[in-house]
Symmetry: C2
Subunit: 343 residues, 2 copies
């Protein structure tokens, strides 16, 4: 059933039916009622492509999710971010287009999207230091919003981010207050902007306490259980092992816990662990009491907000850049305690 057929059934012109359905004022309320009723009855839904062609709007947002070229890893936060964004989109009648892409040809994908015209805007994931994509998107002229920020990028852009520096500063200070002095940092990949900020927060807090960060205790890699296990095993074997770990994701923390237990130590007593927690739906930090002491911010909520912000930026292109900084909350779990007395 298309518009033409529907209008014939109603004995009205396509114009009137279209206007009636799209809420234009210049149509009799009684006529509108009839039209809406008929549309419902015949299960009429306008063809998205035709509508898009006529209006110039695609009613869709693109997400380009990069795959780490080396490790082929898909960041597990995407599932939840996308679930959050999807909620906002479906409320607004937008679709979500996803491209999974090897890092190297992201620009091509953006240009494709622009010229193929199948999206009205994009969400940029996993920004790196001084990320070139931001400049490219500006030049291409595709509205976008960055999930995260890109330090060193001097062009204005819209973003939503967690205050990563502050979160890690607080987490580090929390460990310092418990008496820990040798704290290991298991960070995400440090070409990523969020990892750089987290490291800065960690180092700030140490400096404020008069401690020099020890490079031997700082590691950076893809955030997997394996990384946590490997790095923690090595660290615990050092002549002067750390008494605490600050790690960038629950998966890393789980690996650290495994290493701690393999060393016949007890987490929370012998070794403390604080983790960043994205509050993923399938990887909750304990049901009632948290397993890990954590700085937490819901990535799903971030997805919801990111989508809303981008949509409003698209709806009103005159708007200045939008941004939003979320604060992570520090929740105390069973994985931390005062520093153990050296035996």
């Amino acid at each position: 059933m298309n518009l033409k057929q529907l209008s014939e059934k109603l004995g009205l012109s396509q114009t009137t039916v279209s206007r009636a359905l799209n809420g234009y004022p210049e149509v009799n309320e009684e006529t509108r009622r009839r039209v809406v009723e008929a549309a419902r009855q015949y299960d009429y839904r306008p063809n998205a492509r035709a509508k898009g062609l006529a209006t110039g709007r695609a009613m869709a947002i693109g997400h380009v999710i990069p795959i780490s070229a080396k490790f082929e890893i898909v960041n597990p936060i995407f599932a939840d971010f996308i679930a959050g964004a999807g909620e906002s989109y479906s409320k607004a009648g937008y679709d979500m287009l996803i491209s999974v892409v090897r890092n190297d040809d992201e620009e091509r994908v953006y240009r494709d999207m622009k010229s193929k015209g199948n999206v009205d805007g994009v969400i940029v994931h996993s920004p790196r230091l001084n990320d070139s994509r931001i400049g490219q998107l500006h030049e291409i002229g595709l509205p976008f919003l960055v999930h995260g920020r890109s330090s060193g990028c001097d062009i204005g852009y819209s973003w939503i981010d967690v205050n990563n520096r502050r979160a890690f500063e607080r987490a580090t200070r929390f460990l310092l207050d418990l008496g820990h002095r040798r704290i290991a940092l298991l960070n995400g990949p440090e070409m990523m902007d969020f990892a750089i900020r987290r490291r800065a927060g960690f180092e700030n807090a140490l400096h404020d306490a008069g401690i020099d960060p020890d490079p031997a205790l700082m590691h950076s890699a893809e955030m997997t259980e394996g990384f946590g296990h490997r790095a923690a095993t090595e660290a615990l074997a050092l002549p002067e092992p750390p008494t605490a770990f600050l790690v960038a994701s629950i998966l890393i923390a789980i690996g650290v816990r495994r290493a701690i237990e393999e060393s016949h130590l007890t987490m929370g007593r012998d070794i403390s662990v604080v983790t960043y927690d994205d509050d993923l739906s399938y990887l909750r930090n304990g049901d009632d009491i948290p397993i890990f002491t954590a700085v937490r911010s819901s990535v799903r909520e971030a997805g919801r907000l990111a989508a809303e912000m981008l949509l409003s930026a698209i709806a009103d292109p005159g708007l200045p850049h939008l941004d939003r900084l979320l604060e992570a909350e520090l929740t105390v779990g069973q994985s931390t305690g005062p520093v153990a007395v050296r035996s």
Copy 2:
């Protein structure tokens, strides 16, 4: 740059330029060369909506991913499945449209997609027992492929699935061969078809060994770390605790391991664990030697194949239903051993 402008630049008609770019035979090779070169130079890419409108094909596939209404959980396998499917799509020039949807109004989404015409087919995720979506999609007339199967559904349909029954049968038999007699099953939600098949495999193997499955040792829930921990803690506190666990995902297994360690037991010595492993990129089962003994099948590979199969079904609608049954492989890790002697 659109077709009209390009053809004016070339001094050719839109027809000729279109045919040249789409590889039609009735165009001079020299002309085609000129056209292709100009298209490259001006970075011309046909507008997807206009093309779709003209051809009736959307060049996009929809994925409807359901959110568990009760727990709001997004199954973590989606990230990898979609990464796999995405590879096949981009090779074929297709886009991927994702709808995240509360279980209840999936049918509406399918009808929307059909009448809005923004996809050429859909992948159906997480089929349940006698899943009503299969009948609906048949009726709607939207090509589809099911990731999994739906027992009790008597309509023909295309699918790709892992031999879940066989995988769990083998895993159970493996434990039986090690002398285990009390084996706990921590299964996925048993309204899901894969969970039903896994349970059947488990029970088959037990029956064959002359053992009656003990309902007190069988649990079914969303596959989270928390579930594994909770269920294992309870099971280990039974008067007659299990000596082994067979679980449906690595996340569950991680929870089980936590419970085992909290009980001051050793996994692989006191208690054996076998898990199903989807081979998720961010949740590898150990780097070199597997942590858990596991039956493994890559969900990413399944995504790749699913996409290919659906595309070929769409390309050739006359084809009979396609199906593909993948076998999981059993790899032995550190989490299993002969049954411990009762002390």
